[in-house]
Subunit: 210 residues, 2 copies
């Protein structure tokens, strides 16, 4: 196996763990599978990570951080809060995000039994909520939104979206993505005092919304 620096090897291990977890689930990701994916021996993993739990927490953290960063980058180039929120809602159920969302489901389930995972999961959930909070606050400032409790609204909206996404990813055919967008948009518009349809006036960017 090609030698690497400590930094590179740690990254490579996490990369391999992500690939395996995408196929088998976080909970079913084993040391040997990760080593096999890397093309290395299994002993190598424990030379860089104290335990397998830390590898899994690292894998989740990386996937979730990248997903969040992508979302923030997309929001950054959009002008007003209404457009930003519309984009947020219209892309939340994109099939592209399904694998990352399965990671979230695994993390929420495992959080009670894996301390490192719980920490990663809860802190990243807070970051998503803060992303939403920033949009809402700027919308209240600009007069686009009417909301007396932006903090509560950010948690409510995120929870609504997560609850719907959960049905889509876990149960596949119970809810359609397009339908979920319409329902979420309606509830959020009422929550923020927006006119009906305000969050749906543009097609989702780069996402097939079936």
């Amino acid at each position: 196996m090609r030698r690497m620096s400590q930094r590179d090897r740690r990254e490579a291990i996490i990369d391999a763990a992500i690939e395996v977890a995408m196929e088998n689930g976080l909970g079913a990701t084993t040391v040997r599978d990760v080593a096999g994916r890397m093309g290395s021996s299994s002993g190598l993993i424990h030379h860089y990570f104290e335990s397998m739990d830390l590898v899994l927490a690292g894998a989740f953290r990386r996937v979730a951080e990248k997903d969040l960063a992508t979302s923030r980058d997309e929001l950054a180039v959009l002008g007003d809060p209404v457009t930003q929120l519309a984009h947020f809602v219209n892309t939340y159920f994109s099939p592209d995000r399904d694998p990352a969302f399965q990671f979230w489901l695994d993390a929420w389930s495992e959080a009670g039994r894996n301390g490192a995972l719980q920490q990663a999961s809860s802190s990243l959930n807070v970051e998503w909520q803060q992303t939403l909070l920033t949009i809402i606050e700027s919308g209240v400032d600009s007069g686009d939104f009417e909301c007396s409790d932006p903090f509560g609204a950010s948690w409510s909206i995120l929870s609504l979206l997560d609850g719907l996404a959960l049905q889509i990813v876990a149960h596949r055919t119970v809810l359609s993505r397009a339908q979920s967008i319409v329902w979420a948009a309606g509830t959020i518009e009422r929550d923020l005092g927006l006119p009906s349809g305000a969050l749906r006036h543009q097609a989702p960017v780069g996402a097939s919304a079936l």
Copy 2:
């Protein structure tokens, strides 16, 4: 070990599986643990269930069905739709339901990999949604609620509640139960054209709402 009829033994196995899964989680529930809890040999389980996956799916189904039945019984004795919905929202985050909700988290996570679990999980989720739908429809009929899409509203409200409950159970301290009730009630009131505070005018029944 005392002999039982096929029916009783199957029930006893599921009972024992539930007890174990309450402590260790669905995914960490083993044949030997279940047998030990029953005080029987481990071979007995496979005399009644083709595989361990079916035992776990059975355990989830039983817990979720009982939880649902309890909720429906409580709703049945309440008069008007507003009171029913208020009860629904005020009790959804009760600590009593935490163990059952952890079962849901496990089921949602495993659904993609355990067919029997996915079927149980998705059909029971639909039953919860239908419970909500019945309340909403009767409220629309009685003129208490204003809602053009009761079906969509039922899914949105359930998803909002699940999303909040998920934070409470998986992350423990990120959100408080009382706060979540207030947020959910606010959003639902706006969704159904209720006056602000309509769903919070009574204290939760038999639930410490910390």
